[in-house]
Subunit: 250 residues, 2 copies
Amino acid sequence: MPRVVNEEENALKRAEILDAAQSLIYVKGYEQMSIQDILDELQISKGAFYHYYDSKPSLLEALIDRMLEQVMRLVLPIIQDPHEPALSKIQKFFTSVGTWKTARKDFLMGFVRSWYSDKNALLRQKMTARMLHVSGPWLAAIVRQGIDEGVFDTPYPDQIGAVTFGMVQSLGELIGDWALAPQPAPVQAKRIVDTIAAYNHVLERLLGAPSGSIVMMQPDVIEAWFGISAKDPPGESNVAESTGESQRGV
Amino acid sequence: MPRVVNEEENALKRAEILDAAQSLIYVKGYEQMSIQDILDELQISKGAFYHYYDSKPSLLEALIDRMLEQVMRLVLPIIQDPHEPALSKIQKFFTSVGTWKTARKDFLMGFVRSWYSDKNALLRQKMTARMLHVSGPWLAAIVRQGIDEGVFDTPYPDQIGAVTFGMVQSLGELIGDWALAPQPAPVQAKRIVDTIAAYNHVLERLLGAPSGSIVMMQPDVIEAWFGISAKDPPGESNVAESTGESQRGV
DNA sequence: GTAAAACAAACCGACGGTCGGTTTTTCAAC
DNA sequence: GTTGAAAAACCGACCGTCGGTTTGTTTTAC
């Protein structure tokens, strides 16, 4: 790594390359994006690129660092606020991470599609691992706070943070899966609403929180994301989780 | 895809190539494994390889199909047994999938390390998605059976299968993470035992199963895998989920 | 015998990365 | 302010390897 003279301009250029890489990865995926794509996009030479980044993998690491930093900048103020009740923290955590405040629907769906597609498996795995490491302890702290406040009840406060994170991720994967393989709208709508309701319920159970106290995805968010309303009851004889074929040779 | 004359020999050769690819992927990872590696291993020509497989991605698909088939051959008899109680099915499902019956410890740990490492992110993502699709409906059926038998209690029987799968996967990722970044033995041992206990408890809660009825990982398996005994109580002031650094710039 | 399957290997463009060289910037000496 | 040299910034030809194609040869089946 060369000594840097003008720190500021250097960081700017690195960010510029990262921006190009990010949008290219968003469209093509990490492996499918070539260094040449970046060079073409920014009209720079190969020498220039390799002056700022050692290799393609190191570029990915830098991107993950930046994405994690952005997420944390969003989440930290919520999580670390000493005056906020635990239940409210959990709520806001899901809301902010799940929707990234306010974003265009088409952009969000495009992002979800890209994020959960095979072409970005590595990026997602690396990012997830990093987020688990940083959010685990904080989530545990919130759980303990909730127990103190009498809203949560679990014998495993230290472990439940990681479990919760796993649940959220699991829901994200399901939604990503649906976004990738779109179903007919009516089937889709009911399944999404039911599944989100199920996750809310499960999350309450595992945290030992009062029924109805946790809403991972607000109705207006569901409405915005999927264009459907979320006011139907669970319904016991729904589409029976028919994932296309329920039986095949495998 | 060429027409096949001798179906049997053709399948044998395809399997042979798949075997080589599997062990190479196990060691090097999918992306890092080159077609040439396979050719060298089997002493065949490029023409031969591309006679049996269209491309590298199609080779991966074939591998995933075979792996899924192997898992299903193990799990199906358990899950579809009409005389087996739901609780016992769940139990046996975890036991068989989690340990693959009886396997050498070093092999299993090596497999876990490889499976959850970055180098096989794509394989794992594809395999996980496939398994979610096939196991979701079956798990839902078991949950409904359990409700009928009075051992489970949940308002979301159809969704809970996918949630359960997500939980199991989440635990696997945690364990994989630990296997990849080994900690000092004492810290490791307590964390593993506590976390598995937490997952058992959470699973009971989300299924509405009686306390102590679900054991995802038997003590002897934990013993075999990690070389530690699983008889300590949860313990409220354990290592406090210290993931190395609990605070840093990010 | 002949057509297709099974294999062999030379060959191709694209890839990530390197390297020697050129231009621009920085900063101290005058 | 000018100058000069060192370092940073940048350029693009080049390299080895990759996945994949093509052309050609041998083997097998009927």
